[in-house]
């Protein structure tokens, strides 16, 4: 690859070496490891689904499609606000970028809140990892719910990490240490957030729709 690092003077006599393309490549490599991480879980799902088709079918019927779909719309919307935020900063509209970032954060929080109530409802029915009731369910249903909590839980952790990253970026835009000149940090946070959305897009049919 013919990446050429650009040098910039930061004004204080220091020469800063910037290589946006290298940074972007690194971010993408990290995202690939994320895809493979979730991919491993998709394989486990596929095999157990093949083994317990009936159990998966019945267990999936217990999940609330409306909540799953609502959360999909929430995440898709947050992806839109994120991408508009990145564009806003690239156009040097700092305040607008912050507004979009705040909206993204709010939507991410909404997603987690819905997930929280969804998990809580399952828990009150004795369906939660480690609970005795899971062992008494017909074959495969316990496996389905354990996979459900494992995969949406891991995804939820990613949402929380994304929110932390967005908060940091928001504050750094506020303090002026992220501007349109080094907007890469916001752009790569955006890439991460879109991946979180992308993974959810695949989780929705797996657990809510097609089983």
């Amino acid at each position: 690859m013919n990446t050429h690092a650009d040098t910039m003077n930061d004004g204080g006599g220091h020469v800063m070496h910037k290589d946006p393309e290298g940074a972007k490549t690194g971010m993408w490599l990290f995202l690939f490891t994320e895809i493979l991480l979730f991919g491993g879980l998709f394989i486990i799902y596929a095999i157990y689904r093949g083994m317990y088709t009936e159990g998966f079918h019945h267990a999936a019927g217990e999940l609330n499609i409306l909540l799953g779909v609502t959360n999909t719309v929430v995440l898709l919307t947050s992806s839109l606000t994120m991408v508009l935020g990145v564009s806003a900063l690239q156009r040097r509209k700092r305040g607008l970028a912050q507004l979009y970032l705040a909206a993204t954060l709010l939507l991410a929080g909404t997603f987690l809140l819905i997930k929280f109530f969804e998990w809580g409802a399952k828990r009150s029915h004795g369906i939660f990892p480690g609970m005795e009731h899971l062992h008494d369910l017909p074959p495969g249903e316990g496996v389905f719910f354990n996979l459900y909590f494992m995969m949406t839980g891991l995804h939820g952790i990613h949402v929380i990490i994304g929110m932390i990253v967005m908060t940091v970026v928001y504050n750094r835009i506020q303090s002026g240490s992220i501007t349109h000149e080094n907007q890469g940090i916001l752009e790569y946070s955006g890439l991460y957030w879109h991946l979180v959305d992308l993974i959810w897009i695949f989780l929705l049919p797996l657990f809510y729709l097609t089983a």
Partner: protein, 107 residues
Amino acid sequence: MESTTTLSAEYAHEDHEESHVVPDRTQFNVYVILILLTAATVFASVKFPGPIGIGTALVVTPVKGTLIAMFFMHLKYEKPVFVIMFLVALAILALVMGLTILDYLHR
């Protein structure tokens, strides 16, 4: 070559800059399509549970993923090498998935 989008955007003047940023209108259209595709998948799986519902999800979900990767994640506007890298990662996943499933089917 349309390769150095954000790179050159940093040094471009105000009037050149706009052209390197994907228009908001485009991203909004992509969003609307994503919502419609979601609605179609949900409708199919609720109305026609079974092969039709599953088939729809199996076809539509990767399309949605591709739209997110191409537009929201900017792959459409990056150097081809990023797309190739992405496809290689997916190929590795498909390979591992295929081999594992074959292994389970033939024990």
